[in-house]
Symmetry: C2
Subunit: 209 residues, 2 copies
DNA sequence: GTCTATATAGGGATAGAC
DNA sequence: GTCTATCCCTATATAGAC
């Protein structure tokens, strides 16, 4: 687990091919894996299958990645690399529904631009959770999910509001990643606008109080 | 796949132990599997692991189930066995947002009573989808998911409404199964009421038109 | 109905040639 | 940077004793 391979880069560098251009094989591996992990699931996808689609042998993958898990980790880091710092640097104690509304607006944009990544995460929860347990990727693992989870557990926020935040989050998730191909014809901008309106309806409700 | 084993029941019978009371080993297997499949994922869970928790050997499971897949199928049938016929017998062409609201009310009740089953399904999408492809369990496979999916693709319903249905569905899913243990302290009835209110807010919005 | 023992296959991973 | 060949392990599933 901790042993680093000779010349492979296992860190989160999004990098170009190191010396001469090798057409970014590393990125091709990640792209194919992203697709297969999403459709078949992480565990059901074998390295042989990935290599097959790439046109070369299974063992070649090990030049680029230390292990199968490392591929998933790299995809995980792609998610982290999205500009979600805005979401992480908020004060979790004094947060209001209006702030959540703004955050979800940003999140909708990110999800529209990187739908495939979010779908991967959605459909491989257990695999990603196993990642967290194995390798502590420094500090507190701060993806968007856990940000929301911590908010949902925050006793300072009234329960009713927390449930609404959860539902707003769920609306975005389902609207963008869980519907399969139901809304593929709809332009991203249009779909995003609709979701923003609905999120607003959830967080600033007409009924009650 | 098609070969039936000697004395095992591979159909959907929820049945009691056949002859003398064997304490319903079949159901015990399903309960343990439900738990392990949910926490670790279907693929990551081995029959040895299941047997271990049951206190007997791996091979014994094969007396009760033809295969590992058959266990998942049996759990799938538990979902089917929930009284969701009301949802299936609706007219999909002339359905309105009000009708959807009613259906979701029922769904919330079902999810509250059988949370574990829905969580299992949520976290093992790919495994369940593989089931559908392998074995055509007669007729059109009519679980709740596909009911919603067909509604989301129904061109007779305005796009805006379809997106709202998706979000309402998503709110219920996330509120009940995707939040982990965030709302475990909240009594089912209270949580259900909150969700019903929010679903109403989504489907009968204050903003727009 | 549960056991032990075994067959068989496939997975991840490594060594070393090119 | 990719290959072939191989190791080792674990998984599902079967056979047959008790």
């Amino acid at each position: 687990m901790a042993k680093l391979q000779g010349h492979a880069r296992n860190d989160g560098t999004v990098g170009q091919p190191s010396s001469s251009e090798g057409a970014g094989t590393r990125e091709r591996i990640l792209d194919i894996s992203l697709e297969l992990f999403t459709t078949q699931g992480y565990e059901k996808t074998s390295l042989r299958e990935i290599a097959e689609q790439l046109g070369f042998s299974k063992a070649a993958i090990y030049y680029h990645f230390e292990s199968k898990e490392a591929i998933l980790m790299a995809l995980h880091l792609r998610l982290h690399a999205l500009g979600l710092d805005a979401l992480r640097n908020i004060n979790r104690e004094t947060i209001t529904l209006e702030v959540w509304s703004t955050l979800l607006d940003h999140l909708i944009d990110q999800m529209l631009s990187h739908r495939a990544l979010f779908i991967l995460h959605e459909r491989n929860r257990t695999a990603f959770e196993a990642l967290h347990h194995d390798e502590r990727h420094d500090a507190e693992h701060d993806d968007i999910e856990s940000l929301f989870r911590s908010a949902l557990a925050n006793q300072n926020i009234p329960l009713k509001d927390r449930v609404r935040v959860a539902c707003a989050f769920g609306s975005v998730i389902v609207g963008l990643v869980m519907t399969g191909n139901a809304f593929v014809d709809v332009p991203d901008f249009e779909l995003g606008e609709m979701l923003r309106v609905i999120v607003h309806d959830i967080l600033v409700p007409s009924s009650s109080e």
